[in-house]
Amino acid sequence: MSVVVGAVLLVVAVILFILQPMLSGRRASLHREMDEPTEAESRRRITLLALRDVEYDHATGKLDEADYHALRKELAVEALAALERVDFETAAGLGSAPPELENEIARLRSGLRSGSTCASCGSGNDGASRFCAYCGASLGAAVGGPSPQGSPSDPA
C-alpha cells in the first residue's frame, strides 16, 4: 500500500516539476549570455594565441627569421581584423565588451602596433621590454614595425 502511495506521489512530483515553468511563465535563457564570447571574440582570442605560438616557435628555433617575420605580419593583420570586428560589435551593442573596455581595445590595438602590448595576456609593458612582465610571452608581435628585440633567448 505504501508503495502505491509513494509511486503516486513520485509521479505527481515529477509532473509538477517539469510542467511548472510552463504554468508559471519561468523561462530558461535561449540567448547568448552577456559574458559569453561571440564568434569574433573567439577568433580574436585564437589569433592572439597563434601569435604567441609563433613567438615561441621562433624563440625555440623552429622558425627562421624570414618565416618568423612573415608569419608574424600575417597573424598581426588577422589579429587586428579580429579586433576591429570585436570593436564593431561593441559599437553596435552586439558584443559582450562593455563600453569602458572600448578604451582597452583601442589601447591594445595601438600597443600591438608599437610592440609594447603583450599579445598573449594583453598587459602593457615598458617600450623597451623584450618579454611580457606578467605572463612571460615574447613581446614584439608588431605589424611591420621594428621588433624591439633581436633574436631572443636560446641559441638552440
Binding site: A7, I18, R27, L30, P37, E39, L49, G61, R107
Partner: protein, 692 residues
C-alpha cells in the same frame, strides 16, 4: 525500494520522451519556458534512474532471488561489494548502469550550461533525452528488464563467475562506461550545432573539452582492462585483439584523431566536415561497442549470450544515428566549407592530418578484422576469422609510424616550418634514436620490432625532453624563476601543448613496454616439493625458484571470502643470482556453486621486469587438497616479462597528461596587471592566460 525502483523505470520513459519533445520544440519556437521544462526532465530522469539502480542494488543486498537477474549473478555467500557491483555484472543491469551514467553526464551538461551555450541547449537536451528514451525502451520492451521476475523463488542464486570476483570488476567496467557514456554529450552538441546552423567556433570549445574528458576515462578504462587481464587471466598477456577489446579501442582512436584535427579547425577554419564526421563516428562507435558486446554477433570470450532481439534494436539505432548525421551534414554543407588551405607540406597542420589518416587506418583495420567473420559469411557463405597475427601484422607498422610522428609534431611549426631549422632540431634526437637502436643491435638484439620501437621511442623522448628543457630555460631566464617554478608555470600557461607532450611521453613508454614482450621468457616445468627451476632473465641475471610445497585452506578455515570452497596454494622460494627475495605463491581456487577452479598467478614486479608464475597443472586436485603426500607434484609455467611494468607506468603518464589538459584554466577571466605597472594600464582585455 525495489518496487519503487521498478516503477521508476516506467515513469522515466514518458518523462524522457517529453523532455525530447520539449527540447526540440523549445529550440524551434524559441520558447524559454519549454526549455526549462526540458532541462528539468533531464534531472527528473536522472533521479528516476538513480531510484531504479538503487532498487537493483537493494535486490542484491537483500538476496531477492525471485528476480531472474539477482538469481543469475549472486548468491547468499557473495561478498557484499560484489553484490553492489551486481548492478553491472550482467547484461540487463549493465544497460541500466549505462543509462545511469548517461543521465549523470546529461545532468552535468545541463547544469554547467545554465548560462552558457544557450543557443545550443534546446537541441542538446532534445538529443540527450532521445538517446535516454532509446535505452529506456530497450530496458522495458526488449526482454532485458533487470526487474523481471521468475515466478518462483529459488533457495539460492547461481553466484558470480569467479573470474569476475576480483576488485577489478569494481573499477574497470565503471571506468569504461564513464568513457563511453560521456561521448554522448559532444555528440549532442554536434547535432545541436548542425540543427541550429551555428557552425562557427563556439561549439568547438565545449565539444573539445567533453571529448577530452571521455578520451581520458576511456584510456584509463582500457588500461585497467589490460592490467586485469594480465593479473587474472593467467597467461601473462594483456591484449588479445578480442572483439570486445577492439570495440572499446575504436572510439578512443577516433577521439584521439579528433583532439588533433580540432586544432586545425580552430586555427585555420579547415576540416569542418571532417570534424563533424569524427564526432558522430566516435559516438556511433560507443553504441557499436555496446552492441557488439550484447548481441554476441561476434564470438568473444567477453560477450554476453547471443540475444537477437536486442541485436536488431541496436542495429536499427546505429543506422538511425548514422542516417541522421549524414542528412544533417549534407544539409549544412555550405556552412561547413573550409576557410583556408594548408599552406605547406612541412607544417604542424600537415603532421596532424597525417596523424588523423594513420589513426583512422588503424581504426579501419581493427574494425575490418573484428567484423571479418560476418563479412566473409555474408559474401562467401563461409565464416572466416582473423586473430592476433592479423591485427599485429597490420597495426604494428602503422603504430610505429604514428609513434615517429609524435616526435615530429612538436618540432614543426604551425603554418609553415623552415627546412633548415627542422634539420637542425632533428639532429640530436635522430642521433639518439640511431645510437640506441645501434647499441641494441651491437649487444645482440635482432628482433626487428624491438629495435625499431626502442630506436623511435628514444627519438621521440629526446624531442620531448628538449622541448621541456628549452621552454623551461627560456622562462626561467625571463621570469627569474628557478627551474622547478618555471616548469610549473610553463605547463600551467599552455596546458594543451604541454599536457599533450606529457601524454606523448606516456605513449612512448607504453610502446617500449610492449616492445619488451619480444624478449619474454616462458618455461614450463614439473616440480616435486623441494625441486627448483632455473629461469634466466633477458637482462642477464637468473632466478632460482624452489617449490616448497602446497598448503590448503578449506571453506571452514578460510575467512577471506565466504564464497571460497578451497584454496590450494603453492609456495615458491625466490632467489635472484643467489640473493633471497620474497616468496611467491600461486594457487588454484574453488568457489562454492561454481564448480570451476580458477588459477591465481604470482607476480613479482620490478621496474625492468616481472617474474610471473602460474600453477598450471595439479594432476589430482582432490587428493592434493587432502594433503596426500604423493599428490604434491605440480607443473608450473614460469615467465619473465621484461618492461611490462612500463605499460602501466606509460598509461599513468598518459592519464596525468590528460588531466593537465582537462584542468580548468583562467581562460576568459580578466588578467589583472599589478598596480606597479605603467600608468597606461587599467583593465587588460580578457584573452586568457592559458589557452584551454
Amino acid at each position: 525500494m525495489n518496487l519503487l525502483g521498478e516503477l521508476a523505470l516506467w515513469i522515466a520513459l514518458p518523462v524522457a520522451l517529453l523532455g525530447a519533445v520539449l527540447g526540440f520544440v523549445a529550440g524551434r519556437h524559441q520558447r524559454g519556458d519549454l526549455q526549462l521544462g526540458a532541462e528539468r526532465s533531464v534531472y527528473a530522469v536522472f533521479g528516476l534512474t538513480i531510484l531504479a539502480s538503487a532498487g537493483i542494488i537493494s535486490n542484491f543486498l537483500n538476496d531477492r532471488f525471485e528476480y531472474l537477474y539477482t538469481a543469475s549473478y549472486s548468491n547468499r555467500e557473495l561478498l557484499t561489494w560484489y553484490k553492489v557491483a551486481g548492478l553491472w555484472s550482467g547484461q540487463r543491469g549493465s544497460l541500466l548502469f549505462w543509462l545511469l551514467f548517461l543521465m549523470l553526464f546529461a545532468s552535468i551538461c545541463v547544469w554547467t550550461n545554465q548560462r552558457k551555450n544557450r543557443e545550443f541547449m534546446p537541441y542538446v537536451v532534445g538529443v540527450l533525452c532521445t538517446i535516454a528514451s532509446f535505452f529506456l525502451i530497450v530496458l522495458l520492451f526488449a526482454d532485458v528488464n533487470p526487474y523481471e521476475r521468475l515466478g518462483f523463488t529459488p533457495a539460492n542464486g547461481q553466484g558470480l563467475n569467479p573470474q569476475l570476483q576480483s576488485y577489478w570488476m569494481t573499477i574497470h567496467p565503471p571506468m569504461l562506461y564513464l568513457g563511453f557514456t560521456s561521448f554522448t554529450v559532444p555528440f549532442a552538441f554536434a547535432i545541436a550545432a548542425l540543427v541550429s546552423g551555428r557552425l562557427d567556433l563556439r561549439w568547438i570549445n565545449v565539444t573539445r573539452r567533453w571529448i577530452l574528458l571521455s578520451w581520458f576515462f576511456l584510456a584509463i578504462g582500457i588500461i585497467l582492462g589490460m592490467r586485469w587481464a594480465y593479473e587474472e587471466l593467467g597467461w601473462g598477456g594483456y591484449w588479445f585483439w578480442d572483439p570486445v577489446e577492439n570495440a572499446s579501442l575504436l572510439p578512443w582512436l577516433s577521439a584521439t584523431a579528433f583532439l588533433h584535427s580540432i586544432q586545425i579547425q580552430e586555427s585555420r577554419g579547415m576540416l569542418k566536415v571532417w570534424n563533424m564526421f569524427l564526432v558522430i563516428l566516435t559516438f556511433l562507435l560507443t553504441i557499436f561497442a555496446t552492441f557488439l558486446t550484447r548481441s554476441g554477433l561476434i564470438e568473444s570470450v567477453h560477450s554476453f549470450a547471443q540475444e537477437l532481439k536486442i541485436a536488431y534494436i541496436f542495429l536499427a539505432f546505429l543506422f538511425a544515428i548514422a542516417g541522421t548525421g549524414v542528412v544533417l551534414v549534407l544539409w549544412r554543407l555550405p556552412k561547413l566549407k573550409s576557410e583556408n588551405q594548408i599552406e605547406s607540406f612541412l607544417s604542424r597542420e600537415s603532421a596532424f592530418l597525417f596523424n588523423n589518416l594513420l589513426l583512422l587506418s588503424v581504426l579501419f583495420a581493427v574494425l575490418w578484422g573484428t567484423l571479418f567473420p560476418l563479412i566473409s559469411e555474408g559474401l562467401t557463405g563461409e565464416k572466416i576469422s582473423v586473430g592476433p597475427p592479423f591485427f599485429n601484422r597490420v597495426n604494428i607498422p602503422i603504430g610505429l609510424i604514428l609513434l615517429t610522428l609524435t616526435g615530429i609534431g612538436p618540432v614543426i611549426a604551425w603554418r609553415r616550418a623552415s627546412k633548415q631549422n627542422i634539420k637542425k632540431n632533428f639532429t640530436v634526437p635522430v642521433g639518439v634514436g640511431l645510437a640506441v637502436a645501434g647499441g641494441l643491435f651491437a649487444i645482440g638484439v635482432r628482433h626487428g620490432f624491438a629495435l625499431a620501437t626502442f630506436g623511435i621511442s628514444s627519438f621521440v623522448m629526446t624531442v620531448i625532453v628538449i622541448e621541456f628543457f628549452k621552454g623551461t630555460r627560456a622562462r626561467a631566464r625571463i621570469e627569474n624563476e628557478n627551474w622547478a617554478v618555471a616548469l610549473t608555470h610553463l605547463i600551467a600557461r599552455n596546458r594543451r601543448r604541454w599536457g599533450g607532450y606529457i601524454v606523448h611521453s606516456g605513449v612512448v613508454i607504453f610502446f617500449a613496454g610492449i616492445a619488451g614482450s619480444s624478449f619474454d621468457v616462458n618455461i614450463r616445468q614439473t616440480l616435486a616439493p623441494g625441486e627448483s627451476a632455473m629461469i634466466p632473465s633477458p637482462l642477464g641475471h637468473e632466478y632460482k625458484l624452489t617449490y616448497e610445497g602446497m598448503s590448503t585452506t578449506s571453506a571452514t578455515a578460510s575467512n577471506s571470502n565466504d564464497n571460497l570452497a578451497f584454496q590450494l596454494v603453492a609456495l615458491l622460494r625466490v632467489e635472484k643470482n643467489g640473493k633471497v627475495l620474497r616468496n611467491l605463491t600461486t594457487e588454484k581456487r574453488g568457489y562454492i556453486a561454481q564448480n570451476q577452479p580458477t588459477t591465481e598467478v604470482g607476480i613479482r614486479s620490478s621496474f625492468l621486469e616481472d617474474l610471473y608464475v602460474i600453477l598450471s597443472d595439479v594432476p589430482d586436485i582432490r587428493r592434493a587438497i587432502m594433503n596426500e603426500p604423493d599428490a604434491q607434484t605440480a607443473t608450473f609455467t614460469f615467465m619473465v616479462n621484461p618492461l611490462v611494468g612500463w605499460i602501466w607506468y606509460g598509461g599513468m603518464i598518459v592519464a596525468i597528461g590528460g588531466l593537465i589538459g582537462l584542468w580548468p584554466s583562467g581562460a576568459g577571466a580578466l588578467v589583472r596587471a599589478p598596480a606597479v605597472a605603467s600608468a597606461r594600464i587599467s583593465k587588460p582585455v580578457p584573452v586568457g592566460a592559458a589557452d584551454c
